[in-house]
Amino acid sequence: MFATRRLFVAPQFKPILNSSFRNAPALFTRGYASASDVSTLLLVEHKDNAVAPSTLSALSAAAKLGGNVTALVAGENPEEVANIVSKLENVSKVLVAKDKLYEHGLPETYAPLLAATQKSLGFTHLVAGHSAFGKNIFPRVAALLDVAQVSDITAVESADTFVRPIYAGNAIAKVKSNDAIKIITVRGTSFPAAGSQSEAAANEQAPDAEKPDTVQWIKEEISKSDRPDLSTASRVISGGRALKSSDNFKILYDLADKIDAAVGASRAAVDAGYADNSLQVGQTGKIVAPQLYIAVGISGAIQHLAGMKDSKVIVAINKDADAPIFQVADYGLVADLFTAVPELTEKLSK
């Protein structure tokens, strides 16, 4: 629908319009001609030579803006990722910034790079995923460019109007940006992952930028798991305080392994030390929207619901029949989780 919508062309974007047309004739064939005032810079998040799922969703949101999408890949050895990115659909150009100081995604170096790139190439939109990486960097860029940011968008209404949840998802705001440059972070679960195309977009060197080394990256401790990634898994099983111990989480892992699900947790379970911080689902943890979400021993506080209520099917297992989770659950089972979960695992094994 956005491909055919006629967008308002602000006078200050007219020169950009003309130059981007000359550089990207392919846009006509894709049917984006009417959105020609839009020119988007996508910040690519990557690790171990793989593009982060949040970036693939952000790219789909960027494509909805119309116009062309230029991807920025920075790192110590960004070449391999740049090649992957150049073959993602709707990417018309890849800018590559190679420097040791870009290795760990520090905002002190990324923000000047993005600001310098915007200033020299005149993008109308800057887009990133609303992941820890995007959340950390983008507001700093916005401040350097003196524009507001629209965080965690769930829909693109037009090139300047976006939809985003507020109050832990209990209200939905439609927001119009009156700044010349729109800075947007994208909720990953609200947009599909972008696919790839056969033809590779051109790679170019990114503009030079100041590289302050005021922050040293020391180390990271990443929790290793063979299970699917929580943010993108199609099935998620989460445990709450009622699990009573980290050892008891094993019954969730057994069930998760049976149906190839990721494991999440409520804040109460994380605070009690039953599960790792990075597994927290909710307003301040991960936002998930899997096909199936099984909430085990979770009461369903507002802050937890914020992170999972867009799941397609919600199952709740809780012995308190009045727990708020049952109000959103498609299927609720009032039972003791310590008997119901192993029974479920066993019956799914057959």
């Binding site: 905002p107 002190e108 992941s131 820890a132 990486f133 959340k135 950390n136 507001p139 700093r140 860029v141 916005a142 401040a143 350097l144 507001a148 940011q149 965080s151 965690d152 949840p165 507020i166 109050y167 832990a168 209990n170 209200a171 939905i172 705001a173 439609k174 927001v175 940006s177 922050v215 040293q216 990256w217 020391i218 180390k219 990271e220 401790e221 990443i222 804040r267 605070d271 911080n277 990075s278 301040t284 991960k286 199936l292 507002i302 209520k309 397609k312 099917v313 919600i314 029949a321 049952f326 959103v328 659950a329 498609d330 299927y331 609720g332 089972l333 029974e343 479920l344 019956k347 799914l348």
Partner: protein, 257 residues
């Protein structure tokens, strides 16, 4: 060794336990007659600032609490003072709803410069607008290092600062030097309750009032809220009697297993 002045930001928001309602005109969330309190992440920020002072002793010369908002923001500042902040600054605006992160970051920058602040501790996000921007914006405006989503903060004698950050897959540790900006995650600490004697003492602590004009900052909103609506309702609430029935429904009705 110079002494540090710590600034801590606190926002007055609708209490986290309140089930919010969208107003009839669909322009905003209903705030009249609704319980408000300090943003939970800001309580953690105040606690961290006060703990730094308790731990580092004279090295921290003072903890200054700041809040930007209507006159009611002063209640939030009194809470911060009762928790242990030394003095407070209230930047008064007419309408909380018009104050956006970029505007707040600019106000905070002006205060940092005016008060010669060395370390700023803010919450990682406010639970009303859920933006998660102000700390990063302030760091950008000041060109200071930022340590966001902090779950552990250590400050050494030589002003070196080491912060563990909650990132997507686990924990990341970074090091920097003061001056710096820290934003707090949930796991950083457990905020204390203000005792009655401390609440009484807080009433006598200094609270300065300023306006954006005094600080020479333009806080006009850049984002226009066109509409606020209720999220789509889920038609949940169905209960099953047994694990067998659950398996059957998931396999045959929802066709998801």
């Amino acid at each position: 060794m110079s002494s540090l002045r710590v600034l801590v930001g606190c926002k007055r928001v609708i209490d986290y336990a309140v089930k919010i309602r969208v107003n009839a005109a669909k322009t905003a969330v209903e705030t009249n007659g609704v319980k408000h309190s300090m943003n939970p992440f800001d309580e953690i920020a105040v606690e961290e600032a006060v703990r730094l002072k308790e731990k580092l002793g004279k090295k921290v010369s003072e903890v200054v609490a700041v809040s930007c908002g209507t006159a009611k923001a002063q209640e939030t500042l009194r809470t911060a003072l009762a928790m242990g902040a030394d003095r407070a600054i209230h930047v008064q605006v007419e309408d909380d709803a018009k104050l956006q992160p970029l505007g707040v970051a600019k106000l905070l920058k002006a205060i940092v410069e005016k008060e010669k602040i060395d370390l700023v501790v803010l919450g990682k996000q406010a639970i009303d607008d859920d933006s998660n921007q102000t700390g990063q914006m302030l760091a950008g405006l000041l060109n200071w290092p930022q340590a966001t989503f902090a779950s552990k903060v250590e400050i050494a004698e030589d002003n070196a600062i080491t912060v563990s950050r909650e990132v997507d897959g686990g924990i990341e540790t970074i090091a920097s030097k003061i001056p710096a900006i820290i934003t707090t995650d949930l796991r950083l600490n457990e905020p204390r309750y203000a005792s009655l004697p401390n609440i009484m003492k807080a009433k006598k602590k200094p609270l300065a009032k300023l306006t954006p004009g005094d600080l020479g900052v333009d806080v006009e909103p850049r984002l226009e809220v066109l509409e606020v609506s209720e999220p789509p309702k889920r038609s949940g609430g169905k209960k099953v009697e047994s694990v067998d029935e659950l398996v059957d429904k998931l396999k045959n009705e929802a066709a998801i297993l």
